[in-house]
Structures are given as C-alpha cells and as structure tokens.
C-alpha cells in the first residue's frame, strides 16, 4: 500500500471514529430527535444532560477502552513477534481484573471512586513486574506466553475465590456486571481518572515502536542493527500494562480487541509492527464504540454487556487468525 493510500486510510479511520461517537450521541432510548440531541451539546436542558453526561462519556469510554486495548495488543505482538499475543494472553488483563475485583470486594470502590482504576493499574503493573522478574527481562516469547497463561489462570482462580466468598448477592452482582465488561453509566470523571495512564502508556509504546520494527528480524539481528532490546522490551511491557490496566478499570475485562484490532490494522502499514500501534488504536476504538452503539440499539430488556458482545464477535475472529497463522514465534 502506497504512502498516500495509507494516509487516506488513517483519515478514514479517524472520520469513522468521529462519526460513531457522534452517532452514539444522537441515538438512544430517550427518543431525542437529532436536532434536539445536537443542540443538547450547547444547552443546559434535559437533552443537554442526556447527550453530554450520559451518551458522550459512554461512547468515549468505549472508544478509549478499545483504542488502548488495540494499541496494547499491537505493542505486545510486536514484542513477542506473535500475532496471537495480547495483554489477555500475557495475563495482564486478568491481573488488572483481579485488582479491580479486590477493590470492589473490600468495599474500597464504594469509599473512593479512584480505588478501582488504581487497583487495576497497580495489578497490571504487578503482572508485568512478575513477567520481567521471572525472566530477568530475557524470557523467550514462548516462555513469556506460558508464564502469561499461568498468571491468567492464577488470577482467574483468585477472582473465582473472591466471588465464592462474596458476603452478599449485591457485591456478587457488582462483580459479575463489572467482569463482563461494560461502559454503561460511565462519567467524564471515570474517564479523567484513567486518561493520564492511557496517554502515558501510549507514549511508552510509541517510544518502543522503532525497536519493535527491528525485532521483526529476531532478537539477535535486531540488537545487531542497533536496536536497544532491553529498553524496547521495558517500554513495550510497561506501556501495554498502563493501557491495559486503565482500559480494564474503565470498561472491565474485554477480550479479543487486542488481537483483532492489530490484525486488521497491519495491512495498512505493510505489516510493520512498529507502525501498527496508532492504526491498531484507531481500529480498536472504532470496534468497541461501534459494538457499544450496536448493543444500545438491540431491543432486549436487559442490555447485552459490551464484553459479551466483543467476545461473541472476537472469539471466532481469534480462531480465524489462529488458523491462518503459519509461523508462531519460537
């Protein structure tokens, strides 16, 4: 794909993102007309409250959660040279979810709203710290993934334990709602709590980008052409941890976006893993915000959870990618 086509594709993704966000603000059960909704952006009327404080933050939350998952996935795939890697595979998502679940269980979330994001991000960082420590920064991709599988299972067991011990059905219902992944009822305050971590994570991942491109040749060749492998690894892992923790805190555990978004983005950048990060973020944002809009339009009494919808589409896509992948990083 030529440079001009790539630029056009980038603009197209940005325009689609913007359109989905606007559409999400115009459509909803309150039955506002498009004109009422649009004027709501600029007025303090009831429609203003609905558009600015309910629809827009929800749509933005879905977009941001998808974008950071997409960017994390692109960074992890570049680092591990494996199109099936993502924060979910490495156990970072599961650990972040465990952190958030613990915050809910111990009632910290009820006392301080920032306890959930903080716990999710801290646990995501702890997961990457464990990954780094166990391998002293020198784990082969295959072993790193196996450690991630272990971390996922362990976090899953602890989450199940917490749910098992839930003192009352209300906390259990809170946990289940949150674990399924949802962006309903998110406010700008929720977004502002996690946005700095998302931004910091994206910056770290972008600093790792040239090294990720070099890693296409394997670690020894990448080091020999001038890439700083240790720095690249640290930046990519910390960047992915910050973005994943923040995304999980905002929207719960949503799988597969981190695998599917980079897969769709890569053809736009000649398969270059370093340059796939931003396009993967745009694609991820479009996927989740469009999925959330779709959910809101379904005529069910009980709203479908975003994480459930993402998995219903994402899991078959994951299997498709897995079946098409010829070479797995050794």
């Amino acid at each position: 794909m030529s440079d001009s086509n790539r630029t056009a594709a980038g603009w197209l993704l940005a325009v689609v993102s913007f359109s989905v966000l606007i559409a999400a603000c115009l459509i909803g059960p309150a039955g506002l007309s498009a004109g009422e909704a649009l004027s709501g952006f600029f007025s303090d009327s009831a429609s203003g409250v609905i558009v600015r404080e309910i629809r827009l933050p929800r749509a933005l939350a879905a977009w941001l959660a998808g974008a950071t998952l997409g960017a994390s996935g692109a960074a992890m795939q570049g680092l591990l040279r494996n199109p099936l890697a993502d924060p979910g595979v490495l156990g970072v998502s599961a650990m972040a979810a465990l952190g958030a679940v613990a915050a809910i269980y111990f009632n910290l979330s009820a006392q301080a709203p920032w306890a959930t994001p903080l716990a999710a991000i801290l646990f995501a960082l702890a997961a990457t710290f464990i990954l780094q420590t166990l391998g002293a920064g020198r784990l082969s991709p295959a072993r790193l993934i196996l450690v991630g599988v272990g971390l996922s299972s362990f976090s899953g067991a602890l989450i199940a334990l917490v749910m098992n011990l839930a003192p009352n059905p209300f906390i259990l219902s809170d946990l289940v709602n949150w674990l399924f992944g949802a962006v309903a009822n998110r406010s700008f305050n929720d977004i502002m709590l996690v946005a700095p971590f998302m931004a910091a994570g994206l910056v770290a991942a972008l600093f790792a980008a040239p090294g990720l491109t070099a890693l296409s040749l394997g670690e020894e060749a990448a080091a020999s052409i001038g890439a700083d492998i240790e720095k690249t690894r640290a930046l990519a892992i910390v960047g992915a941890a910050l973005m994943t923790g923040a995304s999980v805190a905002l929207a719960g555990a949503i799988g597969f976006v981190g695998i599917v978004a980079p897969h769709l983005a890569r053809p736009f950048v000649s398969q270059d893993p370093g340059r796939a990060i931003i396009p993967a973020a745009l694609v991820g944002g479009v996927i989740l915000s469009a999925a959330d809009l779709f959910i809101r339009l379904l005529p069910f009494d009980q709203e479908l959870k975003l994480g459930v919808a993402a998995a219903l589409i994402g899991a078959p896509a994951f299997i498709w990618v897995a079946a098409r992948t010829q070479r797995i990083a050794r």
Binding site: T213, L217, E220, A221, I225, G226, Q271, P273, R275, A329
Partner: protein, 248 residues
C-alpha cells in the same frame, strides 16, 4: 584502518565455559574463516564479537571497547548475520534490507544516502528480482541473500556472519563467500563461520580453528587446515574421492 582486538574473551553460561580465554587481532583486508565441529563455540564466538551477548574479556575496535558502545554506534561499525534467518511478519524483501540502515535513522523514511546503500546492497547480493516479494515466500537461497544484503546495507567496516552458506546449493554458497571475500579485499574485515572446509580453504585469508571452546589453530588456510587438524578436531580424513571418517 581497522584495528579489531580480542583479549581473554571468555563466555560462560550456567557455570560452563562455552569459550575460554580467546585472543586474536585482526585488521583490514582479512577474511577470517571460523571453523570447528558442532558445539565448538563458533556461534558463541561470533555473537560475543558482534556484542549481542555478554562476555568477559575485552573486544575492542580502534581501542574502544565494543560493549561500551551504544547499540547504534556498534551497528554502524559491525554488521552481524546470525545463523537464524527468521523474518516475522510478512514484510517485503526490500523492507528487510532497509532495516540494515536502522542505526542511521528512522527505518521507514530512508534518506537518499540510506536508499542508495539499500540499492547497492540489493544489487551486490543479487536480490533485485525478488525485492518486492513477501519475505515469507522466499526460498532458502533467496532468504540468505536478503539477510546478507541487510548486513551489507549497513556499510560497516566489519561483517560477522554465522554460517551464511548453510543449506545453500554450491553455486549460491560460493557466490556468498566470494562476495564476502571481495568486501574484505576492498578494505573490510569479514569474520565468517563456515562448515565447508573446502570453501574456507579457497576463499579465506586466515582460518581460526575452534574445538570445545578453545583455539586450536589460527593461521593461513594451508597451515591451519592440516591433515592432523582434520583428523584430531573434525575426526575426518581425505582420500582421493573426498572426505571420510578418520578411523575407517
């Protein structure tokens, strides 16, 4: 001028020495063949020389320790061709060769001088006919040439290559060794692990023989690759029809 010096180079992993007290100096115009049986420490030596693994001892270039250079500084002086020819992701052959200019700037937007180096390398390694192909569809010989072109594109005074002829037919093997020989003759330094003793004898200016992590011989080809070395190190002998096992 190239002044490449190795003093007391030792590489240990898990308490076992893969390479013990290795010393040599090399300069411009030399094409050094590193030979030895499997497990002799050839790859370990080349990795340590290229600075991609940690080692004890001193590897210096022009008096400057290689392990104190930044990765980019080192990459502008020493090109390294690992044995593995892995290319992840479906990149074009040309994109792989362009990565040879990584140490000179952004990998995506090549300056004119970088683009010229990539062109020259593609031509030198005879990769022009498949430069636009997805690297995952290339044959073993094409892949070997692409990786060689990637190393050549860096335009470094020193090239270190780990069995660049492995799994190649004779014509392609000779073409690659001949190319490295010409790079050395033009004022460069090539240090190349080879399994084919005949190729080494014909094209190298100097041979280093390794066995079990130790230096056995370091001399001109005829002096290094003696019948005794063949028998004791490689456990083979030569008769009128070619190589055979030494004890038969």
């Amino acid at each position: 001028m190239i002044d490449f010096s190795v003093k007391n180079l030792t590489v240990e992993r898990k308490g076992a020495a893969l390479l013990r007290n290795f010393n040599f100096t090399a300069g411009a115009g030399e094409f050094i063949g590193v030979v030895g049986p499997n497990g002799a420490g050839k790859s370990t030596l080349l990795r340590a020389l290229a600075g991609v693994i940690s080692s004890d001892g001193a590897v210096t270039l022009g008096g400057a320790p290689v392990n104190l250079m930044t990765p980019r500084e080192r990459a502008r002086k020493i090109a390294y061709l690992p044995q593995s020819r892995e290319i992840h992701w479906a990149m074009t052959a040309e994109a792989v060769v362009s990565l040879g200019r990584f140490a000179y700037g952004a990998p995506h937007r090549l300056a004119a001088v970088d683009a010229a180096a990539v062109e020259a390398a593609l031509a030198a390694a005879d990769c022009g006919s498949f430069r636009d192909r997805d690297a995952s569809t290339l044959s073993g010989g094409e892949l070997a040439r692409i990786h060689l072109a990637r190393a050549l594109a860096a335009e470094t005074p020193i090239i270190i290559a780990d069995e660049p002829t492995a799994a190649l037919d004779l014509k392609h093997a000779i073409a690659i060794v001949d190319l490295l020989n010409r790079k050395a003759a033009a004022g460069g330094l090539a240090i190349v692990a080879l399994h084919d003793l005949d190729l080494a004898r014909r094209f190298c200016t100097r041979i280093i023989v390794l066995n079990a992590g130790e230096l056995v011989a370091d001399a001109a080809p005829e002096a290094a690759l003696t019948d005794q070395v063949a028998r004791e190190v490689f456990e083979v002998a030569r008769d009128a029809r070619g190589w055979r096992l030494a004890d038969q």
